[in-house]
């Protein structure tokens, strides 16, 4: 589980980069909400990896790799922001809100378990 958390962080950070820059339907976000939540997912995965990875056994500098990926994602998010609708077009508003609330609940669990 400890090392898996590192791979999870890499995976989520990579997904954020893809979401911020890609125009392929499978990666491209369809709303600002989705893009922001993808970024927050990556941040949550970083929190998990920071807490779970056995940093005494691997170089803490590895931490900077997913951080750099999230930074690249943040860069792409700003550039893409103006070209996206706030919520996904064609999806009921309540579904978008529920999607956001579920993510927020997950972040709360991560913060409770791994921070403070």
């Amino acid at each position: 589980m400890e090392y898996i958390s590192g791979f999870v962080a890499f995976a989520f950070a990579a997904a954020f980069v893809a979401s911020a820059f890609s125009h392929r339907p499978s990666f491209a976000p369809r709303s600002r909400l989705e893009l922001v939540l993808t970024g927050l997912d990556a941040a949550a995965a970083l929190v998990l990896a920071r807490a779970m990875m056995p940093w005494g056994e691997v170089s803490p500098l590895l931490w900077l790799v997913p951080v750099a990926a999230v930074a690249a994602g943040a860069f792409g998010t700003v550039l893409r922001w103006a070209h996206l609708p706030g919520l996904r077009v064609g999806r009921a508003r309540w579904r978008s809100v529920l999607y956001g609330v579920l993510h927020l609940a997950m972040y709360a669990v991560v913060l409770f378990l791994f921070v403070g």
Binding site: G56, P60, L61, L64, A71, F75, F114
Partner: protein, 352 residues
């Protein structure tokens, strides 16, 4: 054009902010303290052995005793630095059983149900010797959805996953089904054993340990807390194997299985007395049953290839003590991280 430039600046600023935050949050696992004291050769030997098992390290105290000669190596610690000794506490509980038998308070075959409120549950029929030799059929821990969830949450938060009352411990015991009567390491079993012995002596476990083992051996800096409120002033906490700060483990009613705190000086006295046969309830060290891959077991004490030993691990500490009566060597290792020290302990037991 100007708008695009502004956008680019904002994007770069966002990226720089993330990098700055990430750099500020870079993991900083503890490393073995550079404040070193003790026997130079032993310090070098410990360093070399630790290099073979990387992981979070911070404070570490080691003693190697040959006959009357005690060599120590301390990293960021003194002889009086306090550590949680975790399951080494079980050897105290084992000694208490041997001592209680000597005093005629109980016998090895006394049923647990004679001393604790277990009704007609399966656990009531278990004998004290079965508990001390981990062959009672009790599971390692009582398993329920609630306990599993709270255990997971506690492990992620670096918190003490124990903390039940004696009544809750008894309720747990009443609820478990017994497995095969073969070696299965059981924290639940030793916790019940300690509480049963305390009940037989009409006292509580910390007091019993103090009166019959710690006190007689002059282990003034050792004690058995059962709640955070019972920790002594300045009681240190440690780090998980991953390097995260961990809470103190005081275990509540499970204290007989692992909540004792001690120092290098006290554990040297304890282990030497076990080796020399002068410790209260020392017959606990004599193997009386098979212990699977560990070899044999007495009352909690394991014997593997002639070395009588026990290890301990809490959320933020690990420990190892052992001795070999034939060679006369005894070893104590106390560590304030979750990093394993078993290999270090066994390696130091090798007679030069």
């Amino acid at each position: 054009m100007r708008r695009q430039k502004k956008l680019l600046v904002a994007a770069v600023a966002a990226a720089v902010a993330v990098v700055a935050l990430g750099a500020a949050a870079i993991p900083r696992p503890p490393s073995l303290s550079a404040e070193v004291s003790g026997d130079d050769a032993l310090v070098a030997e410990v360093r070399a052995l630790l290099a073979e098992s990387p992981g979070a390290r911070d404070r570490l105290s080691v003693a190697v005793i040959d006959g009357d000669e005690v060599r120590t190596a301390a990293f960021g610690a003194t002889d009086a630095t306090e550590y949680e000794i975790g399951s080494v506490t079980k050897t105290i509980t084992g000694s208490l059983l041997a001592e209680a038998i000597d005093r005629g308070e109980v016998t090895a075959d006394t049923a647990l149900g004679d001393l604790l409120d277990l009704g007609d549950s399966a656990a009531a029929s278990v004998t004290l010797e079965e508990l001390a030799t981990h062959s009672s059929g009790l599971p390692r821990l009582p398993v329920s959805v609630g306990s599993v969830v709270s255990s997971i949450v506690a492990s992620y938060r670096g918190a003490d996953p124990y903390g039940s009352t004696i009544a809750e411990l008894e309720a747990d015991a009443r609820g478990v089904a017994l497995g095969e009567k073969e070696f299965l390491y059981s924290n639940l079993g030793v916790a019940l054993l300690g509480q049963a012995l305390a009940a037989a002596a009409d006292t509580d476990y910390p007091q019993l340990a103090e009166e019959r083992v710690l006190g007689p051996l002059g282990m003034d800096d050792s004690y058995v807390p059962t709640s955070p409120a019972e920790l002594r002033a300045g009681a240190p906490t440690g780090y998980t194997a991953g390097g995260r700060p961990s809470d103190a483990w005081t275990l509540g009613a499970d204290a007989p299985a692992g909540s004792a705190r001690s120092t290098l000086a006290d554990m040297v006295a304890y282990t030497t007395a076990q080796r020399d046969g002068s410790a209260p309830g020392v017959s606990a060290t004599e193997p009386i049953a098979a212990a699977g891959e560990s070899g044999e077991i007495g009352f909690a004490w394991l014997t593997t290839d002639g070395v009588t030993w026990h290890n301990g691990a809490t959320g933020g500490f690990t420990s190892w003590i052992g001795f070999d009566r034939e060679s006369g060597r005894a070893v104590v290792v106390l560590n304030n991280t979750g990093g394993n020290v078993d290999d270090l302990g066994f390696a130091l037991m090798e007679v030069e």
